[in-house]
Subunit: 350 residues, 4 copies
């Protein structure tokens, strides 16, 4: 259920509607829009009485939302969601493409700083690096943990990059929320509903990676889990799904970009590194992602991928990252986007 407020509704009227919803035993989610505020209603105690709500001052209309996802739906919020970061001009979801780069894992202070310096110079605004690693084998490198978070925190100070890193469980969630700017929920945890709800109770943006066999609806329901707890700053990320095809590690499903844009206001990034698992496919698919309308890309960059502790074969070199930035800068205007910083890389003229 969705309460659409009149354009001229006052903050007090909005507040009064929210309180009324709470008294009915439901949860109100006020979502301000450019023209007017909408208030999503969630809770599983049954149907809300529409008549009572329509009679309240400032209410324009009450709409039933038939989709399984409600707060993530464009029916509830028509304008694109833009995630902003205080003290920075970095943003995810607006006119400017978001570029996230960094190593799979933080391996040492030296490695992380070397990569951060290069990706910052090439125009990235976000730095990614694994602190807590979800590894298929219990005997594989599991990440540096808190030490990695502290290194990334220094990187934010030094290079002005915003930090995105994965949380695996309650313990790491708290640490990530304290030290990073965006909490990543990995593909394997996309239906770890307990973790999603806990992330929803925090007030840090949450990046949700698509599960290896998640449908569009399940992907949006994962976002909905976060949002249902009151955290509306959710970023989606396509990273490849599992199919019979064996020429890439996963099959990057770029057609989910226009599909998400049709039904949801949430921004969506694309990770061509995990999506293909092959260095020589990252640039082509990063270009394709931007051309298809993604809000940005997330790529693994390593200065010495041949000795990386994880995901070496899919990490690109810093000079390839610069090349990629030049390429997506050229493509961006076709989808009414641009890179935030003016990068000057020559692209061969037609």
């Amino acid at each position: 259920m969705l309460v659409v407020m009149k354009a001229q509704a006052t903050p007090e009227e909005i507040q009064a509607v929210c309180e009324h919803i709470e008294q009915l035993g439901f949860r109100p989610h006020p979502l301000p829009g450019a023209q007017r505020t909408a208030i999503g209603i969630t809770g599983n105690q049954g149907e809300v009485d529409r008549g009572n709500l329509e009679a309240l001052p400032g209410v324009a209309e009450v709409i039933r939302v038939s989709k399984a996802y409600k707060l993530a739906s464009r029916d509830v919020k028509e304008e694109d969601t833009i995630i902003r970061f205080t003290g920075s001009d970095a943003a995810i979801g607006g006119r400017e493409l978001a570029v996230v780069a960094g190593p799979c894992s933080i391996e040492s202070r030296e490695q992380a700083f070397a990569i951060a310096e290069q990706v910052a110079a090439a125009g990235a605004q976000f730095f990614r690096g694994g602190a807590f690693k979800p590894r298929t084998s219990p005997y594989a490198f599991q990440g540096l943990g808190l030490d990695a978070l502290k290194i990334m925190s220094e990187i934010r100070e030094k290079f002005g990059l915003r930090i995105i890193t994965e949380a695996l469980d309650t313990e790491s969630l708290e640490a990530v929320a304290e030290w990073a700017d965006v909490i990543q929920i990995g593909a394997r945890n996309m239906q770890n509903f307990s973790l999603l709800k806990k992330a929803g109770r925090l007030r840090k943006p949450v990046l949700v990676k698509r599960g290896l066999s998640a449908t569009l609806e399940e992907f949006l329901m994962a976002a909905e889990y976060v949002m249902s707890e009151g955290n509306y700053e959710v970023i989606l990320c396509e990273r490849g799904v599992r199919t019979f095809a064996d020429h890439t590690r996963n099959t990057l499903d770029l057609s989910i970009i226009p599909a998400v844009k049709r039904v949801s206001h949430l921004p969506i990034l694309v990770d061509p590194s995990h999506g293909t698992g092959r260095r020589d496919s990252v640039l082509p698919m990063a270009r394709a992602a931007v051309a298809a309308g993604a809000d940005g890309v997330m790529v693994e960059v390593h200065n010495h991928p041949e000795v990386a502790l994880s995901d070496g074969p899919q990490s690109i070199y810093p000079n390839q990252f610069s090349e990629m930035m030049g390429e997506i800068e050229h493509i961006a205007p076709v989808v009414l986007r641009r890179l935030p910083r003016g990068i000057r890389v020559d692209v061969a003229a037609g």
Copy 2:
């Protein structure tokens, strides 16, 4: 790495080898077999020095295990693992088929007792029922939680059924470990490595359901996560994978049964209810599972599936459950199995 002890090795010698392994910074996993004990070695600090170990008293040989899964591998333990329950003749993995039955969710004491009575009468030894439900939607029924656990605990007392129920996170894991006999890790959490490790620190059997897009190796690595923490009582459960096929909710992959038997000593059950999502396919696929060599089946039974709060369309009626028991009793001898209690259901003669 695997240390195979001599047949006549003494407990003291085994103990000494374990201590030596710990001093080297690794973790020993003594796994007693019918003939002799093997000691698996895990840890990710690099390669163990084989020479030192081979010189210890009681050691027959030291073998390198090349598979990614070690403790779950038949290379490490040749005999089938049988999970037994104190104070009960119920078992999973041996000559007798394990039959797990019950509703998707515990909805009330009345509902649970009614179903339990009927499945116990028909020969089930294990009762399943959801207390904590992983639901795709945050607005769907999430289970009765602790109340459900208490109801199932009463069912154990009254009907002698052993209880299997799902844990979703740290909180529910502790509760399930306290009240139930087997901790279920659901398909969506099969790669929730943090949860697997926590379950590995408990001393209750753990049933791991196959993820919707899990390969055989990933499935066994999930078991390995539990075992690497010292809990060797792991039961696998096939419950369908996600494919393009649309005539069932998932595609039940019965060929994983002989594949698991080839490489692992762990028992494997089959859940044809989730595996097909259709009541009229449950009996055929339960029969097929037993014929393919499964160690048992896990089915959803409901006395009033048309009003079930979850999974009604795939729950069978109690009389269908009785019919199923008769059918699998007939098939069992072909795979050198039997049902633990003599059920007398006539099967039309050939």
Copy 3:
């Protein structure tokens, strides 16, 4: 559209209805049932005028068939189709399980006769052997062609086995129709509509193997293509579909058996050899197929699989075939089936 005739309708009345349908520009398909005859109507020139038909003598009612497949549907023919062979008691689709066995390819007269003798002795009624082979590589062995057909024709004479072999195109279709008893359309040709239509114009039973990514509806539509040309003797065959799973060559989807039985009257066999691609999985999956309700199995048997020109790793040995026959004979009564010849293999009692 379907015209259901009255139980006491005369052959002349049926004939008159068929002629009337033809005059309307459609094609009548009279399908005799146990109680009464139904006449399917196909053609793509639009809607038939129901009123005219209902007024004809002998017509009970006219029913609109809403499914995409019509002649293959149970709506049009309620009783199971049984394919019989003149001069033989072999049948596919009735009370008796059909067992098809033989090598992947006919390699020589000696090889074929040796295998045929053994499978006949163990109770097979149908012999399979590739004469025209669809190979992924143009440089691989393509089959002995007409010579293979002649060898199999001799096998029919000598051992009384009915012959099933694949046709690839117009040329091989004519040859197969002349020399064999059942024309096989392979998985890769399941949507070779031109070939299906040509097979539909012949009067030999057609076995259609499921395509590697065929849905249930597409599978039945392939059968419908054959039937729409007037050949109603179609046998379906599940042989595995393509998924991400890598522990078998294909994923054998046994749940399609109850799904087919729900909506179609056509018989369905299962091929666990192609369905798994592994010798050690053939017996478990053959047993499972029978337990799930298949009308029979089709397996590759080779006397020297280690030197087979194709598919050696998935061919079972003759003694394994005998073992399989004993196993499915034991399981058969549960699904109200039996093997046609009394095989006496002891199965360990429960």
Copy 4:
């Protein structure tokens, strides 16, 4: 096996090597390159004696090709294959992007001409239109057949567009080869090896669409079937594969573009119309295809998609086609491509 000739080898020396290969019972495939000619050797009678060949005049070296596909491999021909059309500057595979547009089916002369006029004006060089339609249902519209071919032949005369249309079987193959410029082999026939071989004996370019569950190797082996018969003008076309994802009709696998470019010299087009099945996804995925490095795109355009006899929901309007041309013209330089005719469509500046 591959014979690499010296740069200065004479035509007579090349001819002599070919004749020698034939005498050995194999088939020579001379493939001229920019620097020198290579001669592929195929045939399945076993191994060629390398020593004999290396001794022939003009031979630089003899190389064993280990891949299953040989003539399609870059090992055999390093430079990209460019398909040219006499009497036209249209080409597939070179610096200029190939754009193929037209309706799913030719429905009438008026419809076809109206669409052809618009796509020609917007810059397409190739016209596509179904004459023989592979339909899942035997009762669906099967195409106008020869009449459609004649209409398209007139379109070539009038608008200078080159014609691409599908052949389904021996009969339609001959007709298509006579009337069209490129013979299309559809996805459902990608492993109809008999049809591929017949197309290989013609001397018209062949466009092979990827099968719904074809791996990269199988896709290239389909091309190899055509090439093994001496027709080296093969164009690949990605059109989506079948997965669990349900937000599009198929999952368009753009990552196959860099994968093909790595191992093969053949050009590859992308069909975002079949690849997504949704009008609103065609432009995003056409842009993405070009950005990923495709040699061109193939799209369905209809002037009245709402009344199209087939595939209406995925056909774009002519004005969307013009928009697409402007977009890909802008993207092309990033991948060192251009559109052949100067289209002037303004793209919003960054």
